[in-house]
């Protein structure tokens, strides 16, 4: 599958622009791209979810990875999050760990 996300680092902020889905299909590739940023002083990870319509447990694993392993518990921000994605985050119990923004 064609890479449908983008990862940019600006200072201590890592921005991940997501495509339509974050599932078992593309999550391992994203994980590979994120691993080099481990212990790089990341304080905030911003997920641009404007186009995101499908989030599976493999995608959730990425979010938890960012929170738990990327740095010293960086802030996780979701931008333009769809209601369906919010529901998934609710079920898996991640909502309290995430800041939501509309841009």
């Amino acid at each position: 599958m064609e890479k449908d996300f983008e990862v940019n680092k600006k200072g201590s902020v890592l921005t991940v622009t997501l495509g339509n889905e974050l599932t078992a299909v593309n999550a391992p590739t994203l994980m590979e791209e994120l691993t080099p940023y481990k212990n790089q002083g990341i304080e905030k990870v911003v997920f641009d979810a404007t186009n995101l319509t499908h989030l599976s447990s493999s995608g959730v694993r990425i979010i938890i990875y960012c929170k738990q392993k990327l740095g010293a518990s960086p802030e996780i921000v979701f931008v333009n999050c769809d209601k369906m994605i919010l529901d998934v985050l609710d079920i898996v119990g991640l909502r309290p760990f995430i800041t939501f923004e509309e841009r």
Binding site: S58, Y65, Q68, I91, G93
Partner: protein, 601 residues
């Protein structure tokens, strides 16, 4: 005539006869290969025969107004009186004792059970005794599998001692009455039945080592590593975002984590580093108490599709063991795919099959008859509610009945009924109706208890069977089959009797004995008439043969009821059941001839 001419004779059946034969074959096939209710099968079959004109309206209704059906239904009320005044429970408690040898235990159990079965419903007795036997086997330190089958055999053999002991006897007696205008006495079958019982009991005691020594199904939940438990991570669990290792959920006291499913069933690798998410289902195997402690220590819940938060868990639950019934709609399905948990507010904790754990997720296990299920249920769950009892048989049912003065009253009513009908002071129908009225009048049971004690399904299938029997007689099938039997075995009456009995005995191993009796009663009657003998002894022999359904778990309700609790396999029934069936049938025929010398018409 030779064999070929007999076959040619079969082709001489009328269209109505062929339709009836096709219907009967369809009934047998549906009973064997589907889970459709017997009463429904019977009603559809007679509906078809009526619709195509084989039966007229009067014949169609004859089954429902038959004395057999009324007597069977009313006997349910009489039994309710005995049951709810505690007479049966008192007898069960005081006659078994604590014998120190296994053969003595078998005799102490089988003799009183068969005596009670002579007057009471086989199915209800099996249910009542099933619970008593479980506790008794623990006291005696004997595997329940060594007791349940003998108990079932005793119930079945005891049922043949009187006309009211089993509905098949009532069918035959009713048929005889209708065909000849004479009535059979309540104890007509006593001597042959008692001889069969004696031989049967002695045979079972003699071959007691053939009885399987099985681990009780409950042990599957008591022994380490013999079960699985599925726990769910609620969405507000504090361990979310931790790994299984960090949260202490990978290596747990008393068991192992064997699988993890996230909310969407996406593949996941079972490792210590796997992150925990809300909605995860963790499958453990090990000591049940230890694993269930994780509920409190790690804020997990028993896996259930509708539970989202710990706050929703009601603490007033208890663990109950149930077995999958033989005709349960759950067979071939998973609990997860059914609504039984949601409908009854209970949660499946673990599954075992023949005393061994099933390692897969309990709710994903495709169920088989006899599977043992461990449920977490509200304490007040009515496991005898019809919608639940038709699917699952709960083993830990305990009926608490206070024994009071009414126990004496109900015993007197029952005794009076037996004496009056035995002495032909009143007919069987009058006797049972009067006894039922007396039970209600003296408040031995409430009207609701009485109505609940009547098995309406059994009555419907009984009525349907009788109508089917009418069709077999009316269309000439019975006469032609009887002629064929006579041609095959000759006119020697004993051989004719034995031939029909063996045929009935074979079919009753796979088809419910009520249906077999209704089909074979007209055939046996016609066979007796063909050789020119008084039909009563022939029909008495049929009673014994049609009831000798010991060789398979599907042959009769009592057989099914002990299958799960005894932890049996299908072949366990055959080991003793096949020789016992043959011995009882042959003894029955011999005993009938001895007790009732055959008389030429």
């Amino acid at each position: 005539m030779g064999l070929f001419s007999n076959i040619f004779l079969l082709w001489g059946f009328s269209i109505d006869a062929w339709i009836t034969i096709a219907t009967v074959m369809a009934v047998i096939c549906v009973m064997l290969f589907s889970k459709v209710r017997t009463d429904a099968v019977m009603l559809i079959a007679i509906g078809v025969l009526f619709a195509v004109g084989v039966l007229d309206a009067k014949e169609l209704c004859s089954g429902f107004s038959a004395g057999t059906v009324v007597v069977t239904g009313v006997l349910g009320v009489v039994m309710a009186g005995l049951r709810y005044t505690g007479v049966l429970q008192w007898m069960l408690k005081h006659v078994f004792g604590l014998p120190d040898r296994y053969p003595t235990a078998l005799l102490r159990m089988m003799v009183p059970v068969s005596m009670l079965s002579a007057f009471l419903s086989n199915t209800m007795l099996t249910m009542l005794f099933g619970n008593v036997l479980k506790r008794w086997s623990r006291k005696l330190n004997i595997a329940p599998s060594k007791l349940y089958l003998p108990m079932m055999y005793a119930v079945q053999m005891g049922g043949v001692l009187t006309l009211i002991g089993t509905s098949t006897n009532i069918i035959v007696a009713d048929f005889y009455g209708n065909a000849t205008g004479k009535t059979m006495n309540m104890f007509s079958i006593l001597i042959p039945g008692a001889l069969c019982l004696l031989v049967g009991v002695l045979f079972i005691v003699a071959v007691r080592r053939w009885l399987p020594d099985r681990k009780t199904p409950e042990e599957a939940f008591e022994t380490a590593f013999d079960y699985t438990v599925e726990l769910r991570v609620p969405s507000d669990n504090p361990n979310i975002c931790k790994t299984l290792g960090e949260a202490g959920l990978f290596h747990v006291k008393g068991g192992n984590l064997i699988d993890i499913h996230h909310f969407d069933h996406d593949p996941s690798v079972l490792s210590e580093d796997e992150f925990i998410m809300g909605g995860d289902r963790l499958l453990y195997t090990g000591q049940i108490d230890d694993i269930l402690e994780l509920k409190d220590s790690h804020n997990l819940v028993i896996s259930d599709h509708h539970v989202r938060s710990m706050n929703e868990i009601n603490k007033n639950y208890e663990l109950r063991i149930a077995f999958v019934n033989f005709y349960s709609k759950l067979i071939g399905k998973t609990i997860g795919g059914s609504s039984i948990e949601r409908d009854n507010n209970m949660v499946l904790v673990a599954v075992a099959r023949r005393g061994k754990r099933i390692e897969a997720a309990p709710r994903e296990v495709e169920l088989q008859a006899g599977d043992t299920l461990l449920f977490e249920c509200p304490r007040k769950t009515n496991t005898y509610a019809k919608h639940l009892a038709s699917q699952l048989q709960f083993s830990d049912f305990q009926e608490v009945v206070k024994i009071g003065p009414n126990a004496i009253v109900s015993s007197l009513i029952m005794t009076a009924m037996m004496i009056l009908t035995a002495m032909n002071v009143v007919s069987l129908l009058h006797g049972t109706v009067l006894a039922a009225l007396a039970m209600l009048l003296f408040r031995c049971c409430t009207v609701n208890q009485a109505m609940d004690s009547v098995s309406w399904r059994s009555l419907m299938s009984l009525a349907g069977s009788i109508v089917l029997g009418t069709a077999i007689a009316k269309t000439g099938i019975a006469q032609k089959v009887a002629l064929t039997v006579v041609d095959l075995v000759g006119t020697q009456p004993v051989l004719v009797m034995l031939g029909v009995c063996l045929a009935a005995m074979l079919i009753t191993q796979i088809v419910e004995n009520v249906a077999v009796t209704a089909m074979f009663a007209p055939i046996m009657y016609q066979a007796a008439m063909q050789v020119g003998y008084e039909p009563a002894p022939f029909l008495l022999a049929l009673m014994i043969a049609a009831n000798a359904s010991y060789a398979t778990p599907i042959a009769a309700s009592p057989n099914m009821l002990v299958y799960g609790p005894g932890g049996y396999r299908f072949t366990d029934y055959m080991r003793i059941g096949i020789p016992l069936t043959i011995i009882v049938t042959v003894t029955g025929v011999a005993a009938v001839i001895l007790a009732y010398p055959l008389v030429k018409l």
